[in-house]
């Protein structure tokens, strides 16, 4: 564990996608769990280099999409056929083909709203503050610099060893982060 009490983790800066890709492979292979890479754009294949699992998001969207779809076709049938039955245009009360457009749009609506909110909720955003924001160098993360941060709570974390690992992987800058 950490030697300093007021230590959140270590931040290391890399200069390009290639460097961070190689560094992530090393951190992954060293067996770290609580660490992250921050990049200005999704670097192709970096999720594999970090050993990340696929996102759960599609399953949530599928569930809510099916729910929304089923809800709308049932609602339309109930509203048109049972709640206030009126014959319009000579169509039967349960006129499924005429229900399709709204049914379809509702499916899209439920799925997309779910995808939108799940994305932020699963990612723990909005989160106004993060320890990395304390670093001046980290302001370039949304521009052209690439970062790895390892949290002090990681069982493998050792300030000197972790720093040496990140440095050895080609970091151009290594900083300690406070919470």
């Amino acid at each position: 564990m950490s030697t300093k009490s007021n230590l959140w983790g270590v931040l290391a800066q890399y200069e390009n996608p290639h460097a961070i890709y190689k560094a992530c492979e090393q951190v992954r292979d060293a067996g770290y769990e609580q660490w992250d890479a921050c990049v200005p754009f999704p670097v192709h294949g970096l999720d594999k280099a970090m050993g990340l699992k696929a996102s759960k998001l599609p399953w949530i969207v599928l569930t809510m999409g099916i729910f929304g779809s089923a809800f709308m076709v049932l609602f339309e049938s109930w509203a048109m056929g049972s709640a206030y039955p009126i014959i319009v245009g000579g169509k039967p009360l349960f006129s499924l083909p005429a229900f399709v457009p709204v049914w379809y749009e509702a499916t899209v609506l439920f799925s997309c709203v779910t995808a939108f909110f799940s994305n932020w909720i699963l990612n723990g955003l909005p989160r106004p503050h993060h320890p990395a924001f304390g670093s001046k160098a980290f302001e370039r993360v949304t521009d052209d610099k690439f970062f790895i941060m390892v949290e002090a709570t990681d069982p493998k974390f050792d300030l000197e060893k972790t720093k040496a690992l990140l440095q050895g992987a080609g970091a151009t800058l290594v900083e300690e982060l406070e919470p």
Binding site: E15, N16, H18, A19, Y21, C24, D36, A37, C38, V39, P40, F41, P42, V43, H44, G45, D47, M50, L52, S55, P58, V61, F75, E76, A79, M80, A83, Y84, V88, S95, A98, P101, V102, E105, A106, V108, L109, S111, C112, V113, A115, F116, S118, N119, N123, L125, P126, R127, P128, H129, H130, E139, R140, V141, T142, D143, D144, Q167, G170, T172
Partner: protein, 492 residues
Amino acid sequence: MITGTADTLPDDPKIRGDVVLPDPTHGREALVRGTHDFHSITEMVCRVNEAPLKATPKPFLFGLALAASLLAMFGGYIGYLLWEGPGIWGNNNPVGWAWDIVNFVFWVGIGHAGTLISAILYLFRQKWRTSINRYAEAMTIFAVIAASSCVALHTGRVWMDYYLFPLPNQMGLWPNFRSPLEWDVFAVNTYFLVSLLFWFTGLVPDFATLRDRATVRWRQVFYGALSLGWRGSMRHWVTYEKAYQILAAFSAPLVLSVHTIVSFDFAVSQLPGWHTTIFPPYFVAGAVFSGFAMVQTLMIPARHWLGLKDLVTAKHIENINKIILVTGSLVGYAYAMEFFVAAYSGNDYEGFTFLNRMGGPYWWAYWTMISCNVLTPQLFWFRKIRTSATWSFVLAFFVNIGMWFERFVITVTSLHRDALVSSWDYFVPVTEIFYLLGTFGLFFTLFLLFIRFFPVIAISEVKSVMPQANPHWEGYEHGEHHAAATASAGGH
């Protein structure tokens, strides 16, 4: 990505983007011109937003003032409309639908290009879309707002508009889900909301860029709030990209469905000239056609004034013009097919309606439509014309005019000759021109504010399609062997 001709490009970024390169013999043309790294892309795009408020260019302020005064006029016009009712329009019996619906369909159609670029081209891995998708999406959203203002105000008793939505009410009555007009409510509202969510999702990483670069307090707060604390975490990107893909995958059929449903407003009725099965594909092609014309109209001046020619190059203009050519030809085919079907059906009313379009009292609208929509885009067969910014701007302008007239022709000429000669009438607009100008004011006010405060290019997406974004790019492998100073200095 191989570019054999990039060496011959001039150094001046003002003209570099306009150079037309010969098609490479293999591989594709580089998407970004000039020697840009990630940082210079950020600089190029953010410069537009980061100019101090007092240093806003005068022509921009003039444009904004003009658009805002049109918007203010629109506000007054809406008040007048609410006070007097739709009697201030020239609508009569039988022409119950006129400019209100014409403007609505015109604006909704324009929106479709944005979604096509952001969704369909994304799913087809068309990487050139990254430098035009942001403002095409913005255009979509503002166009749908303009469209909604037309359709929400045309109902007559505007305060009853909540009946359009399935809300529990005092009569225990639900909207008629079998009606195309109700389908339209769902289609347009879903379209607006999904486009907005999609647009915002794409904007968040770029808002974070502006936040991290902000030097003034209000910018830090403004972009800080909008960026939701985005920090580019790869763990976030994984979920984010999945969400983005799903939004794209749903938006793609949404593009087709929305204008299909708009066409149902006409096609499900029994009116000759409207009641045709060709309407859905014909409307979708027309929507994409008009939308891409509007993209050209907005993009060509913007890339010039904002200094973005390295990102939006002659290649982009050419690609868009090719889509305009294809969809324009589809629209021309649909016009011809309508006549064929009317003749082939042997139905007198159908035949009369179409002959009346061509030679009746609204012949001028029909021929404006044909010359702008069918003849104009055919000029894009010439490479000189379709790669020229000036030509593209002028021709796209004609397409915009033509597509407004298309909706006028469909709506008004089909209605003004009713089944009985005694009910025939001629529609003349009264105050409608202010309605149309007002929607333009609304659209351009929003669009100019967007250009000033939001990143007009998807910064992170453009970076991700640059060759050096690939961790296995040959430049890095090369640098590794020769221990280049920039790449992985500590090496292994």
